[in-house]
Amino acid sequence: MVNVKFFGIARLKFKEKEIQIEAGTVKELCQAIADRYSVPFKDVKQFLIYVNGVNIVDLKTFRTPLKDGDNLMFLSPSSGG
């Protein structure tokens, strides 16, 4: 199980703050979230996704492997000062 926290537009979309879910890669995770909330897969992968504090674009993007206890953040690109 990995821990996933939703922020910004992800929080609005999934209406939950935090979940624990089973997944071996980020892609599997996005699919599991899509299934859980009955939303299209493409809508789930449209967030900034951090695995243990690192953006997946600096890892293996959706092929990034996950292990039990990993902490993920789903964020929306933001602005405003």
Partner: protein, 637 residues
């Protein structure tokens, strides 16, 4: 002086408080085309005021000038167009400052028949001004208002017009005091203290002058499209209305950008307690807006049974992680207290964290400690009233460091305190803080943190391209502000596919190539007038709006050049007042200490960035606009 341009109302009012004299300040149509309005128009007025002075100007002397300026779109019904500007020589920095405010005063000023109000001199008694059309100005005694907070002051002024007032902090010359209109503040740079130094409690504007629109059909059509873009864009249509600027707390945490423990770290383990999501879910009563704004980013919250404006991300960061506090309600209370006393929450919070570190290191025994919050409210009050340690704190972090030491961790630039973005997690933002004309400002520096992690994911540690990107975004924001719009309208500049799909192929390409576009962007800046186009896809509706409202020929290239002219003119004011490249600096903590011990890139390589920036600006190596540039920008007056 009448104007041929619509949108504007034509007159600039000059008030000499010493002489109680009212005159019309000459501002020509040629100047309107060159300087547009807002902070750039104000820069022209301030420059003309100081250009024949020798050296420094004491910000608290009667010789200091206040220029309150509107933009052509104010009071004309465009989206997010209530923003007006107040400029002066800052008591924090000694250099030019411009402070933007979303209250109704700017629109009211135009309805009273004035594009701008210029104030010089010093009143011989506590005074507020009642300003009506046809150059009618009443000097009213403000003894009954002196000592009153900003909300009560606005209520007590019997006239019905739009108001702009200081609170006790401004009266007591707190160097980061603000001026308030409705619940909105011209917050930064100590504009309120300059009001106080002139015995000026505030202004009221009354009138029913209606700015005319040059091509109303096209203007209205553009506004409809513009509003639609703002309300459907992921940033301005979802993030800001739902979570306000506080939405940035979580991304800042993720990107090591959340100033924590007086900028010793970029992350705070209890960040979610003070996040935008928590603010919305547990404290928000409703969201609100400035007049004419469809974004509605303002957070209305409960403080002691009254619904008041809630904190922005800066206040959350600086009164949260930066002093190791995770008590949201306390921040709401303090935010309201500072609004009521009339002081800038950024400079106040940052000065407090500096004082805490001084105390921690045994350099100043002041009773302030990280994580200890039971004495913060009383300390805020003591600052506003200049009592006890508050009298020292009211001077800001630079002057505290002059007295007690600790310059390497006094988080200001040129005397103005940094915002809540920890720049070692986004070095372009660090550059922006260092070179911003008004001091340690996140916006005036180009706000590259949006590219470097919050909106896009451009490499936050590279120096490539950061100089030209900073210059370009500074110029764009200068011009947007001068037109009278909120800078948040600039966020819709980024196409949906970038902000709505951060992992998409196009976004990845943009993230990669943006830092390699240095030469291309420099060419755009150099030859801006060639770009006689309006930006496609509604990315920058401002140019069409200004053209349709005023009848002034406007396009992207001209708009960008106006911004460049404004930024350089502000720099020329600073140069005139003594700024040098040595002032374009950062506290040593940010340039010499790694933020993350395992990441050798996590500090700001400022010397390299500055050189690139000066080149991008076409400035000399000592950071001054060259004669050739001054001539090109038509600033050779």
């Amino acid at each position: 002086m009448a104007t041929k341009f619509k949108g504007y109302v034509g007159k600039v009012l000059k008030i000499d408080l010493t002489k109680k004299e009212v005159t019309e300040y000459p501002f020509s149509d040629e100047e309107r085309e060159l300087f547009l309005g807002g902070k750039i128009m104000a820069a022209k007025i301030v420059y003309d005021h100081i250009k024949n002075m020798d050296g420094k100007l004491d910000p608290f002397s009667p010789e200091n000038i206040i220029a309150i300026t509107s933009g052509p779109l104010n009071a004309c019904g465009a989206p997010c167009s209530s923003r007006f500007n107040t400029s002066t020589i800052s008591p924090l920095t000694g250099y030019y400052t411009s402070s933007n405010c979303g209250g109704n005063f700017g629109m009211g000023m135009k309805r009273a028949g004035y594009d701008a109000i210029v104030i010089v001199g010093k009143a011989d008694e506590h005074t507020y001004l009642v300003i009506k059309p046809d150059m009618k100005v009443e000097f009213k005694n403000a003894d009954a208002l002196w000592g009153k907070k900003t909300g009560e002051s606005q209520e007590l002024i019997p006239e019905k017009g739009d108001k702009f007032v200081i609170g006790p902090a401004g009266e007591n010359l707190v160097r980061y005091a603000c001026v308030v209109s409705n619940e909105r503040a011209a917050g930064r740079g100590g504009v309120g203290a300059v009001f106080g130094s002139k015995n000026l409690k505030g202004l009221v504007v009354e009138g029913h002058v209606a700015p005319q629109i040059y091509d109303k059909a096209k203007y209205d059509k553009n506004n409809v499209k513009w509003t639609k873009r703002l309300t459907t864009h992921p940033t301005t249509g979802k993030q800001l209305p739902n979570f306000g600027t506080a939405a940035l707390v979580a991304p800042m945490q993720a990107k090591h950008l959340l100033s924590t423990n007086n900028y010793r770290s970029g992350q705070f383990d209890k960040f979610d307690d003070i996040s935008g999501e928590t603010l919305t879910e547990s404290y928000l009563k409703y969201n609100s807006n400035c007049t004419s704004c469809p974004i509605r980013c303002a957070r209305m919250v409960d403080v002691e049974g009254k619904v008041v404006k809630g904190p922005e991300v800066e206040t959350l960061g600086l009164f949260g992680p930066n002093i190791l506090n995770n008590n949201m309600q306390a921040i709401l209370d303090w935010n309201n207290l500072m609004d009521e006393y009339g002081m800038d929450t950024i400079s106040c919070g940052n000065t407090l964290s500096f004082a805490m570190e001084l105390n921690e290191k045994g350099m100043w025994d002041n009773g302030l400690q990280f994580g200890k919050i039971d004495n913060i409210a009383e300390t805020i009050e003591s600052i506003a009233l200049r009592q006890g340690i508050g009298n020292e704190l009211a001077e800001g972090s630079k002057r505290l460091s002059d007295k007690f030491g600790g310059k390497e961790f006094a988080m200001n630039v040129k005397g103005m305190e940094l915002a809540a973005y920890e720049p070692r997690g986004a070095v372009g933002q660090g550059l922006g803080y260092a070179i911003a004309n008004r001091g340690g400002c996140h916006i005036n520096g180009g706000y590259l943190v949006v590219l470097e992690g919050l909106g896009l994911s451009v490499n936050p540690y590279t120096t490539h391209g950061k100089g030209v990107l900073a210059a370009m975004f500074q110029d764009l924001m200068e011009a947007i502000s001068a037109g009278g719009n909120c800078l948040f309208t600039s966020y819709a500049f980024f196409p949906y596919f970038l902000m709505g799909n951060p992992n998409g192929l196009m976004t990845k390409i943009v993230n990669k190539v943006m830092t390699e576009l240095g030469l291309a962007i420099k060419a755009i800046l150099r030859f801006a007038p060639v770009l006689a186009i309006h930006m496609p896809f509604g990315m920058l509706p401002h140019t069409k709006a200004i053209q349709y409202a005023t009848g002034m020929k406007m396009n992207f290239g001209k708009f960008l050049r106006i911004g460049e002219r404004g930024y350089n003119l502000e720099r020329l004011i600073d140069v005139k007042l003594g700024v040098t490249t040595a002032d374009d600096t950062l506290p040593a903590r940010l340039t010499t200490e790694l933020q993350i011990a395992t990441n050798p890139k996590s500090k700001v390589p400022l010397d390299k960035l500055k050189k690139k920036y000066y080149k991008a600006r076409f400035w000399s190596k000592d950071g001054k606009p060259t004669k050739k540039l001054i001539k090109r920008l038509k600033l050779d007056f």
